[in-house]
């Protein structure tokens, strides 16, 4: 997204323009959801946490230091909220059921297996992997969102894919 447009939207939000925040929500909801899903390993919890993140973002918009860096700022809020949830859980989330929920729809059966494998990945790999698909395949953008280098993201994506392949193979999801 055009940095100047994003800056203008953030500036408008700080002046109380909720319409401008609605635009930011539209632009970043997928990315925030990917981060929460990546951190929590459970899409239903991630949906709730993404809502909380975006609401907290609205409440704290006055505190943003650089209005051109909304993406890393909201990503940080998401990660901090998810870390709180993980601490409250006291134990890591078990992998999602790998076999079909009989009430689920056809494709969900396949996605269930994928989610089961994703849930077993380290969040260090899961977060960039999900962002890759939610964020238009740009390692540059993912690096900016997560506050790291493009090379580091590329390496985490490769290792994540390697582990995911092993997990899917082990589950027989060839």
């Amino acid at each position: 997204m055009d940095l100047e447009v994003e800056k203008a939207l953030v500036a408008s939000c700080r002046n109380g323009d909720r319409g401008a925040y609605a635009e930011l929500v539209k632009l970043h909801a997928g990315r925030v959801f990917a981060i929460c899903f990546g951190m929590l390993g459970n899409r239903h919890d991630a949906e709730d946490m993404a809502q909380q993140t975006l609401l907290k973002g609205f409440m704290q918009i006055q505190g943003i230091r650089d209005s051109g860096h909304f993406a890393p700022w909201i990503a940080r809020i998401a990660r901090n909220l998810c870390i709180d949830v993980i601490r409250q859980r006291k134990r890591p989330a078990a992998p999602a059921a790998g076999v079909a929920d009989p009430g689920a729809r056809t494709e969900e059966w396949e996605y269930g297996r994928l989610e089961g494998a994703l849930a077993q990945l380290s969040s260090d790999y899961r977060v960039p992997l999900l962002l890759f698909y939610f964020d238009g395949h740009s390692t540059k953008s993912i690096a900016a969102t997560l506050g790291t280098t493009q090379a580091a993201i590329q390496a985490r994506l490769s290792r994540g894919r390697k582990q995911l392949r092993k997990l899917l193979k082990a589950e027989g999801a060839e």
Binding site: G16, V25, K26, E47, D101, R105, Y111, G136
Partner: protein, 321 residues
Amino acid sequence: MTRSSCKQVQEQLLDMAGSSVPREARALQEHLDSCPACKAYWAALCADDALLRDCIDALQPAVARIEDGVMRRLAQVPPEAGVPAPPRAAPAAAGGAVRTHLLRLPLLRNPRTGIAAAAVLALGLYLLLGRGRATLYDQVMGALGEVQTVHFVDAAIRDGRWAKRVELWYKQDAGVAATVWQGGQVTFQRIDNGEHAWIVAAGSELGQRSPSTGALRVVADLLQTGLFTRDFVRVPREDKAVEGMPWRAYSLSNGTGTVRLLAWLDEASRVRAWEKRRLVKDGGWETYRTGTIEYDVTPDPTLFQPDFAPDVNIVDVDPAR
């Protein structure tokens, strides 16, 4: 082919997953052409990539719900007041799925009643709020509640060929039957006759039978009707006339503008076709998924009868337990 060179090749392939082997990587392509193990590894990485793409596509309604939820809560907040916290879901037991409360409403357990109720509710809101015209979602859901039969084919395309294909037949009061093909083989079957739902995966000796979740709900899920709550834009230049019937085109882009969903609706607001396109390196658009839906084709009634291979053992499962 030495083991070490295969290892190096597979490391390189990991970096290329999600795209394609560049033409200039001639040595790598030659290795792939002559090494069945690396070729199979590359095919598996491509399949993982396709599965991830499909899975992320299927999560788009969740993103729409997040947007709607945030905006609804913000609308409740008076200026200068605090933002109410969204209701927290109970922690997922052992990481299991937390179902949305909406699906637990008894009214919506019956899919026909649920979808009809959604259409009536939408119409009521439309009349109450005087919005002038029903939303696209209202129109799509209203039309779906009226259909007698559905024949739906969805294909994921890779390198110009079908990588995966889903075919679904639905007949009111008979049920729904869905089949998934990958690599020319049936990999998955689901039948729901309104009383029971059967799920059988290819190669598995076990199948599952559970209480029906409702045939029309399966259709609504596969058609991803939830997407129509989002901001589709009308694109008249993509309109079609099929067998003399006008189909209206609507487009929805992802946040970064790199993926576009085009959907066509007929005069009765029934979804008739869609395409998913993604931006490619040369700036053009590549279609990677297509779907077509027919509504007036009577299915073979035997499709809705569970008739699996004799060596498949069907196990009863009660999801409520």
